[in-house]
């Protein structure tokens, strides 16, 4: 007897009691769908984070210097030299001075806009293009000019894409807009990557901030040199400060890794919880199969009298349970895709982000494999029981 015939027989049995088969599958359906949506959620989150981090650059390091009293310090020039000395790993550097003053255009206040003081290399480090006007230049730094470059969001929202030459107030000071950055994300939003202002760090540190420059963004020659670049900077700074607490070097890729492993952990825990319903589903299948063995005792007796070996009876029941379970798995996969699509919509409308919940193909394959395996596993005991029935007792059974 061939497997295909056993499967055909199993399908016949399932079709003859559809409602029961469906209820039996329900646990598996729910379990698979839940695991898929949760894993999809995790994937979506990871992709979303990756995208955000990548736009910040995975080949950059952030150096922040807290200093150690007033006796030791590093100037911008020391930092520039540090980069030059390690040109094998370190490519470019820009100070980053965060500006806390309010940003105003006319009478309107831009609360979510980030304004940062940077040098002329920053746009290159971050790979920002210019869609209008010019970038910040070396002379802007030297002369502490009150000029700035704005993100595409601001240009579009407040200047109708005609921003160059206009004025903007930062911390009460007037700045002339000299350039507009190209749009970075497809769906621009308030507080997003396109809602920002770059101004000369010299101006920022003198006019708008305490004066000390204590934060830098460093571009690596390659993404693969994160560790080497970090080491080079750390060593140099240690020689100055002789204390590890005086500075801090972080890489985006490191942070991404940390965040990813954190979300993965959460997803794993949630998937495990959802996986429990697979277990419950499996037990449901076992229960129904045991009932089915009892109901079909006479059939088993007849088949045995007609020459069915234990192995055939066993195969028949295991396959039936595997088919029910796998069918449940397929329905669950369909449901999982459906729910993922719905969840994507819900998340988009609730959280105002463009996170896409995508169940990975691998998770789908694994889900299907698990559901079939559950059928085999939990069908085994009932099948064993069926195959062991004594033919005389089975034939006498009413």
């Amino acid at each position: 007897m061939k497997i295909s015939e056993s499967i055909h027989q199993a399908l016949q049995n399932i079709v003859s009691s559809k409602l029961r088969a469906f209820l039996t599958m329900l646990g598996i359906i729910i379990g698979i769908a839940a695991v898929m949506v949760i894993v999809g959620f995790g994937n979506g989150m990871e992709n979303y984070m990756k995208e955000s981090f990548q736009s910040m650059g995975t080949d950059t390091l952030t150096v922040s210097i807290n200093g150690r009293g007033s006796s030791r310090s590093v100037s911008e020039d020391d930092m520039y030299k540090l980069v030059d000395d390690n040109s094998e790993y370190l490519d470019q550097i820009s100070p980053t001075v965060s500006v806390s003053g309010t940003v105003k255009i006319g009478t309107e206040t831009l609360d979510s806009t980030t304004a940062t003081g940077v040098n002329e290399e920053y746009a290159i480090i971050k790979d920002y293009g210019i869609s209008d006007g010019r970038t910040l230049q070396y002379l802007d730094m030297v002369n502490r000019r009150r000029v700035c470059v704005i993100g595409a969001y601001i240009a579009q929202e407040y200047f109708a894409n005609n921003a160059v030459g206009q004025e903007i107030r930062i911390g009460g000071q007037k700045f002339t807009i000299v350039g507009v950055l190209s749009q970075q994300v497809t769906e621009m939003e308030e507080g997003g990557n396109d809602d920002m202002i770059l101004l000369p760090y010299t101006t920022a540190s003198r006019v708008l901030s305490s004066g000390d420059i204590n934060s830098y963004t460093v571009k690596l020659t390659s993404e693969n040199y994160v560790t080497e670049g970090e080491d080079a900077i750390t060593n140099a700074l240690y020689q100055v400060f002789e204390s590890e607490d005086a500075y801090n070097v972080t890489s985006m890729s490191e942070m991404l890794e940390k965040m990813t492993s954190m979300t993965n952990m959460i997803v794993l825990i949630m998937a495990c919880i959802a996986g429990i319903s697979l277990l419950v589903g499996g037990i449901g299948i076992m229960n129904i199969m045991l009932v089915s063995v009892t109901e079909r005792t006479r059939e088993i007796g007849i088949r045995k009298a007609l020459g069915a070996k234990e192995r055939y009876i066993m195969t028949q029941f295991v396959i039936e349970s595997a088919v029910i379970s796998a069918l449940g798995g397929l329905i669950g996969i369909g449901t999982g895709y459906g729910l993922s699509a719905i969840a994507t919509q819900v998340v988009a409308s609730l959280l105002d982000t463009s996170m896409v919940i995508v169940p990975s193909i691998i998770s789908v394959l694994i889900a299907f494999g698990i559901s079939a395996a559950i059928g085999v596993l939990f069908g085994y005991l009932p099948a064993k029981r069926a195959s062991r029935l004594n033919p005389i007792d089975a034939l006498r059974y009413e």
Binding site: M1, E5, Q12, N13, S16, R298, E299, I302, R303, K304, A305, L306, G307, A308, K309, E310, R311, Y312, P391, I392, L395
Partner: protein
């Protein structure tokens, strides 16, 4: 001629609490190829016990059952299943068709277990159903047939694998007298075609269809001989005494 079925001092005992039930007690007999034998006896006399042993559904507590030269007691479950499949065709009182399969599929079941290809199965099953004049009901479900038709399907199923022995346990027990005659006629026809038939019944009028009668009483053989001998129909002392007292 080597006998097809040989019982050498076969006993089947059941321990029921303190009492030992001797369902079959030291039975020795032989059945040759081509014979039509009826095993007769009152209820509880051990007919089904014998039939289960002959049918390789059960093994004796003691004694030997030799089927076509092979000692069945020495076989494992798989080998027993194979013998049931290849050597034996069962006809039951309750037909025992599989309700979810069509007539044709029912007849194909033993052939499927025999490992025949789909086409061969179909061909043989249709031949067997032809033989019992049911070739127009191939796609019917069993519950769409009358009792007599269902029993004919089960005869076709027993025949299909061309077994050495056809074992019928009260095949007419659920049928009216007219249909019973048809079924018995069919068995006689099979006998004429050379099949070995063992018919189990409690009914003397049915037992006479066979050419030889083995009469059981309390697990013993009390008569083994031609069906047309006067002693064949003698009912045991037991019953006579019981009858006299009432």
């Amino acid at each position: 001629m080597i006998s097809l079925i040989a019982f050498n001092n076969v006993s089947k005992h059941y321990q029921m609490g303190d009492t030992l039930v001797k369902a079959a007690d030291d039975i020795s007999m032989e059945i040759n190829p081509g014979e039509f034998v009826a095993i007769v006896g009152r209820s509880g006399s051990g007919k089904s016990t014998c039939m289960n042993i002959i049918g390789c559904l059960d093994v004796p507590t003691s004694g030997e059952y030799i089927l076509k030269g092979e000692n069945v007691g020495a076989l494992n479950k798989n080998e027993l299943a194979e013998i049931r499949n290849k050597m034996l065709g069962f006809i039951f009182q309750q037909y025992n068709l599989l309700p979810k399969l069509t007539v044709l599929e029912n007849v194909e079941v033993p052939l499927m277990y025999a490992g025949l290809s789909k086409a061969d199965r179909r061909k043989k099953a249709i031949e067997a159903l032809d033989m019992v004049q049911l070739s127009d009901k191939l796609t019917n479900m069993p519950n769409q047939l009358s009792g007599g038709q269902q029993q004919r399907v089960s005869i076709a199923r027993a025949l299909a694998g061309d077994p050495a022995i056809i074992l019928a346990d009260e095949p007419t027990g659920a049928l009216d007298s007219k249909t019973s005659r048809d079924v018995l006629g069919l068995l006689q026809e099979l006998h004429k075609d050379g099949h070995t038939i063992v018919l189990i019944t409690h009914d003397n009028s049915i037992a006479v269809t066979a050419e030889r009668i083995i009469r059981l009483e309390d697990g013993y053989v009390i008569y083994d001989g031609p069906a047309d001998a006067p002693e064949a129909m003698v009912i045991s002392h037991h019953v006579l005494e019981g009858g006299a007292q009432s």
